[in-house]
Structure formats: C-alpha cells, structure tokens
Symmetry: C2
Subunit: 474 residues, 2 copies
C-alpha cells in the first residue's frame, strides 16, 4: 500500500522533473587508471551508439543485451578520443530504473572532459548532484530514506556508519515505518468512514485496537528516537576533549594515537585515505578530538589561560581526557581534576597519568573516584588500555545488537513530530475527543511518518535539500 502510494504520487511528480539524458563522471575526479562516465535516460544507448565504434561492427549497441560490456573507440569528428569499454543497462535493470550506459575510459582528466563535452554535444546534459539517485527514487527503485542512505554510505568513515547506512539502504529502517504507517492508515480510513456516517454515531474503528496500535507505534518511535543519540555518534564521531596543564603531553598523546592508526591504515599500499585530521577510528567508531589546533599552538591550560577554555571544550565533548605529568605533577592537581569532573557532570572523564616511564611514584589522590590510567605518550605505553577505556565509554550496545539506528537528522525530526502527533491521538482518546478532531491528529501522524520514506508527496525543497548533498555522478 505504501509503495503503491508513492508510486502513484511519482507519476504526478514526474511532470515537474525532466526525463532527458543526463551524464556525469561517476568516479572521483583526478587522474587514475580508469574513469567511469555514466549516462541515464531514455535514448542513452542510441546516443552512445552515435559516437562509439565497436571492434566488432556487426551490431549496434542498441541490439546488444543488458548487462553486457563492449570494447571499442569513441571518435569526435573522425578524431580518436579514446579506447573505451561500454556497459549497457536496459530499462528497469539499471540503478536509476531507466536505460543507462557506463563508459569506462582511460583515467586522464583531459579524456574525461572531452568525453563529457562530446556527450553533451550529442544531446545529454550534465547531471545535477544526486540526480541519478533521485531518478532511482522517482522510478520506484528505492524510497527516500534508502536514497538518503546511499549518500551516507559513500560518506561513511567508520565501520559503524558504514553498517548503519547499508542497513538503511537495504530498507531495514523504512520497512518498519512503512508497516506501522500501513496499519495506522487502515484505522484512519475507518475513522474517516465514521465521519461520513457521523450523524449515525457508529464506531467502525475499534478504539481498544487503536489504543493498542498507538502504544506499539509509540514504543517503536521512542526507540528509534532514542537510537539517534547513538546514530549521531556513529555518523559524526564521538567528541573527545583533552585537557590538562601545559607540558602534560597533550599533543604528544594525540600524535601517538593518530600515528598508531595511520600505521594500520597505510598497510594497504596505494589506498591512501583522506584521514580527517585529529580523528581516530577504534572498533569501528570515530573519536573526534575537539579544538586540537589550539592544543598544538598555545599553552592551553587549566592554570594559565584559565579554566574557561578547558571548560568550553568539556562542554562540547562526550568524553573528557584529563592528562597530567606523572613525573612532575602540577601542584593543585587533585583540585584541578575535581573541578573538571564536576564540570563534566554526566560526561565520562578519564584521568591519564602521562610520562609514567619517568615517574618515581604514582600520585596519591584523596578522591577515590580518581583512578588514573598510566601511560607514556612518548614511548607508546598504556595506549591499548586507553583505547579499551575509550571504547567502553562509547555506549554502542544498540549497534552490536543489530538494532535499527536512526542517523539522519531529517528522520529524527519527522519521528519526533510523528510521536508528538501519536501522543496527541492517545490523549484525545483518553479525554474522549470528537472523531473529527481525532481524525486530524491521525492524519498529522501519517504525514510525518510518510515524510521519512517519501510515501507522501515530499516538498520540492526537501528533495532539493536531500539530493543536493550528493556528489555529482551519484
């Protein structure tokens, strides 16, 4: 029903979209062994036929089967541009759900541009960002939340984000929403029926069953909303603040953590990754260090520039590392640690005794809550224990339990609005609200649930916002 719903809407919406032939570079820009240019739209294959010369000239591309690859040359005004491989996707069998072609050429920037120019000359136009995926959505190949997951998948920087995006792309998330929405639609239609017969005071929609369904929806929405906390952490990384007196070794610690990770990453030669500065990946999660630029330049400290700067960092963090020099501990150390712990409130604070390789004796703390982890950032000692502690603090049980996790703030917002409407309906039933007012709240809840998957007509602005975030060629 849901699918039928937005398929119906699709045909309406299509009128406002162009269904011409789009083309774009699908691989990252720059030089490589090969590059792939993608075309989509009715007539794509015929367009490529016009510029492609197969080594085996017996048949045109248009006569070949879907999902086959053909070697040949592409010429412009008789001049050879490149030797290419052309892959054909016919109609519904493609990613976009329409006739598509992929041209695999030599990975020269010049050739990429020349081929695109030629295709544009022959009638294609440059695709807008996300337009291929938008067409997949418009052609019923995926719902809106699945389309959004494609962008998340490409941008995923850690295992957890990758896992959640894949789960969502394969429909895990929207299936649950769609099911609930369908059940609610059944009730809604019964309630609307009551309105038609309002003079007769009949009750088609069993209120007890409705209350049961609302409780179920309430539970699911609440769980999904709560999962966003984890989802956000997965997507954006866990913010970590490192604070402590000057010369405690904050930047040495950061470098030690970053270097260790880089060494792992660079094991596979030739797959240089664009590591985000000051972010480490542990157990499939990203830990993002806050404001580390300052850490390296200034003598940012609890004592000097004062508590203020450190407190600002703590505010932005989920986890706080308090680092002190065990070989030469600051006076007032315990006071500082206590201040930081107090400021941190519910946030987790790890106290780290650095330079323990040169310390004569461990610092004795009066506060029994303080149990420092002994490390030496310089010598790389105790870093495993620190990493284990960080992972323990990152509460991602939901992830390991294979639960569905919401990572998209647009979904989060819609879920909250839907929950508010559901609660409104629940309250309405309790206080015996009239059917017409109840119907309105039910409609409101349906609208917000539909927004997530695109089951109801999405705003043109929403589509623009969603697909505008994609890279070109996707």
């Amino acid at each position: 029903m849901l699918w039928g719903g937005w398929r119906g809407f699709t045909s309406y919406f299509c009128a406002m979209l162009r269904n011409d032939i789009i083309c774009a570079l699908a691989t990252p820009s720059g030089m490589g062994a090969i590059a792939v240019i993608r075309l989509s739209g009715k007539g794509s294959i015929a367009l490529v036929d016009g510029v492609f010369n197969s080594t085996n000239k017996t048949k045109k591309l248009i006569d070949k089967a879907s999902h086959t690859v053909h070697f040949g040359t592409i010429k412009k005004d008789g001049l050879l541009l490149d030797e290419v491989l052309v892959t054909l996707f016919k109609d519904a069998k493609s990613f976009t759900g329409e006739e598509s072609v992929e041209i695999s050429c030599h990975g020269s920037v010049l050739i990429q541009n020349k081929l695109l120019q030629l295709l544009i000359e022959k009638g294609a136009r440059m695709a807008d960002p996300g337009e291929f995926t938008m067409r997949a959505f418009m052609n019923g190949k995926m719902d809106l939340s699945q389309a959004e997951a494609v962008a998340d998948l490409i941008a995923a920087e850690n295992d957890a984000a990758h896992k959640v995006a894949l789960q969502q792309m394969r429909g895990g998330f929207s299936k649950e929403i769609a099911q609930l929405r369908e059940e609610l639609i059944n009730f809604a239609s019964l309630i609307e029926l009551e309105l038609d017969f309002s003079e007769e005071d009949v009750e088609f929609a069993n209120r007890d069953h409705l209350v049961q369904l609302l409780t179920k929806i309430d539970k699911v929405l609440t769980r999904l909303i709560q999962s966003f906390k984890v989802g956000n952490v997965i997507k954006n990384g866990i913010p970590v603040a490192i604070v402590g007196a000057p010369n405690a070794g904050k930047s040495t610690l950061l470098n030690a953590l970053l270097n260790e990770e880089r060494a792992i990453v660079s094991e596979i030669a030739g797959t240089t990754r664009d590591t985000v500065e000051d972010e480490i990946h542990l157990g499939g999660l990203s830990f993002r260090f806050i404001d580390t630029a300052g850490l390296r330049e200034t003598t940012d400290t609890v004592e000097n520039i004062g508590i203020k700067r450190a407190f600002e960092k703590i505010e932005q963090a989920h986890i706080v590392l308090y680092l002190y020099d065990a070989a030469n501990p600051e006076s007032d150390l315990e006071t500082h640690v206590n201040m930081v712990m107090e400021k941190a409130g519910n946030k987790s604070v790890l106290v780290l005794a650095n330079k323990t390789d040169r310390a004569k004796a461990p610092v004795a703390f009066t506060n029994t809550n303080i149990s420092p982890i002994a490390i030496s950032a310089k010598e790389g000692l105790g870093l495993d224990a620190l990493q284990d502690a960080l992972l323990t603090l990152a509460d991602t049980k939901a992830l390991s339990n294979n639960q569905i996790i919401v990572t998209n703030s647009r979904h989060y917002e819609s879920l909250n609005l839907a929950l508010a409407a559901i609660n409104q309906v629940q309250d309405g039933i309790e206080i015996g609200l009239t059917t017409d007012l109840l119907a309105e709240d039910v409609r409101e809840a349906l609208r917000h649930l539909g927004n997530i998957t695109g089951a109801i007509e999405p705003d043109r602005d929403i589509l623009g916002t969603i697909f505008g975030k994609f890279c070109i060629g996707k």
Copy 2:
C-alpha cells in the same frame, strides 16, 4: 616476425614474473559516486565467487559469459560490505590478456579499503604500479612502446599530448620501427650466412640492396629523432618567460591569460580539473610560464635585481615575452629590448605594449625589428592577438600533418643509438669492412631498434623504470 620474436621471449621472461592474482583500486582515490577495483590473474573469477552473492543464485560467476555484468552483494564473515556490480573478462579477452574481474562498488574510501582487504585475505595481492599494463605486455596484448603510451595517455594534459599518446598506444610508432627491423633482420640473417660460408667468399646479402635499406632506415630514424623536439614540447609544454620592468603588468598579464582559460574549463560543471599552476592550454598545446612564483612576489626586473635574473629565465625559455608599460614607458626601453633580443638569440621574442588603453601615443622604436603587440592585461584587450602569436611561434607543423612523433626520452635515446649503429654499417660498407665486423654493427642496430618495442629481452631495470612510473591499478 617481430611479434613472434618477443612472444618467444615472453615465455622465457614470465618465469621471473609472478602470475598470481593481483588487485588494486583502478579509479582515482578518494570519495566518488562509484569506485572500481580490478583483479587480474588465473583464478580471479573463482576468488570473487567466494565472496560474491548474486541476487540470482542459479549460477556461479565462473559459469557466466565473458563481458557480462552481475549485480549482487559482497559479504565478509557474513557481514554485508556493499552492493556491487561485477564485470567478468575471460582470458585473452581482457586488457591484461588474462582472466580479470572488475568490481564496481559505492565510492566510499572505507568500502574500497574493506573490499581490497577482503580480496587480499582471499589470496589476491596488491598490484605494483603499472603491473596490469606490464601483464598486458607480457601476455602479448601490446608491445613496450604501446604500454608506455598508456601511461602517457593518462597523464596527457593537452590535446596534442593526448593525440600523440593515443597514436602510439595504437601502435603507429612501433609498426614503423618493427617493419624496418624486420627488413634489417632478413639482411642480418643473410650476412650471418656469409660468415658460415666465409671460406668460400660468397655474398648472399646484396650490398646495393642493403645500402638502399640503410638509407631508408637512416631517413626514418632521423625524422623520428627530429620529431622529438616537437614531442618534448607537446609532452612537457612550451616554456615561456615573461620579462620587463617592475609594474609593467607581468603578473596581471599572467592572471589574464590563466583566467581566460579557467573560464573555458569550468564551463562543464563538476569536472573540476587539476590545472597546473601557471600553465595555459592553447590550440591543444601547453604554454608553461617559467618561475612565475617570483614574478608575483618580488619586483623582478631588468633594471633592479638586474639583467641576471631575467637572463636566467630567457635561457630556460623557448619563447620570451618582453612586457612594457605603454602608458609610462621606462627610460632606456629600447636598450632593454635590444639586450633581451640579443640574449634570446634564436629564440622567439614577443614585445608587448601593455596598458595601451591608457597610453597617449605608441612608443617609437629605432630598431625596426621591434613591432610590439598592443594589449591591456587589465582590460583583457589584445589577448587574442597575443595567443595567436604564441601559437604561430610554437612550431608544430609535424603535429597537424599527422606525422608520427616521438615523445619518450627512452625511445629518443634508443633511436639515437640505432642511428649511430646504422651509420657505422654505412661507413663500413663504404670502406669495405669485413663481413664479421659488419655483422656486429648490424646486430647492434637491431638491438637498439628492438629495445624500443621490447622485441628483444628488455633489461629488468628498464621494465622496472617503465612500469614504476604508472599509477597503481593500471
């Protein structure tokens, strides 16, 4: 014969190369809509079969036809890594000439790394730079000069370099060399025969015909060697020096030229190209401005820091632009221009009268050889005339005549050595050298000609040097 020759050598040489399964990212590194991972080597398809789950499970990939594409998922330890398209190339039908697979995945850096890791775990190894093309060479899919052209093609930054690399990749260059070498081999075998019958004083190899052939080879080699001058310019750009007094507008001119080109390039949205700083592309050629960093920072000048710096630039240039402020000409202008022209010698000097929009009257020169081009770099006036003049000075008639052009310095060197040996043979015949000494010179010439196409066993170091310059994945 040539092909037979190096195919024979190939089987010998293969022993020293591994023929295991190699894998690498074939598309540029970084984030994009899609990325392509390439595998090559016997057993590649079976390897991918081990991790790939087709949506249509009736057949294994190994049972599918060559040049077909299959949609499915790749899992690791039961965990989904990505939805992918797998393209199969069976045996001799692939680029490398051996069983190959291309996996097209989502363009996330994380996914790329995870897939490569998985393939390596399953028995593949990361390919060395150029190893795919090296295998194409080893498997007789292309000769050495064609393989080298692949790297040139990918790196080509202008139309001319692109054209020459394509021509060479398609064998235009090596065909000519191979033909000559084959004819010379026929003579060589007759001469060797004479040596066997040396006591009988017979002459199997007609000396007149040999002299004719040598003259032909001499002519071809000389032409190819001469083409290198153009070839080098095509590949590396034409070095241009801008000199003149301070405030003549040198950096404004450079920016005007660069901006005009960038505007053209950026017409195709989303295909940002990595433009080389201070290089403009005109009529398919690159003009490379020398030492422009200094141009912007210092008041580099003929008057101040003195002639020395300007003269150094002129030395490195093929074309010299002398720029002066027409609204406020320097005293001694003509003296300076004369000095620069003298220093330039055979090099082309263009004198440019800048700021002509604000000049009251043109400067009168006594030297009739000085005919300035009137421009205004700031207002963009006269730039077309300047660009036309630059193109006229770049002598690339050979290019427009579709002549074969040598761009590779390794080939240039071999051609020179071959020509020297050919000349030696010519001299030998003239002075009536004994057959055994003649045979030696002929062998020497054959060796150098063979080096170009890899017809004779190339040095392991040579192969390393050639393919080491490739990017990984090619």
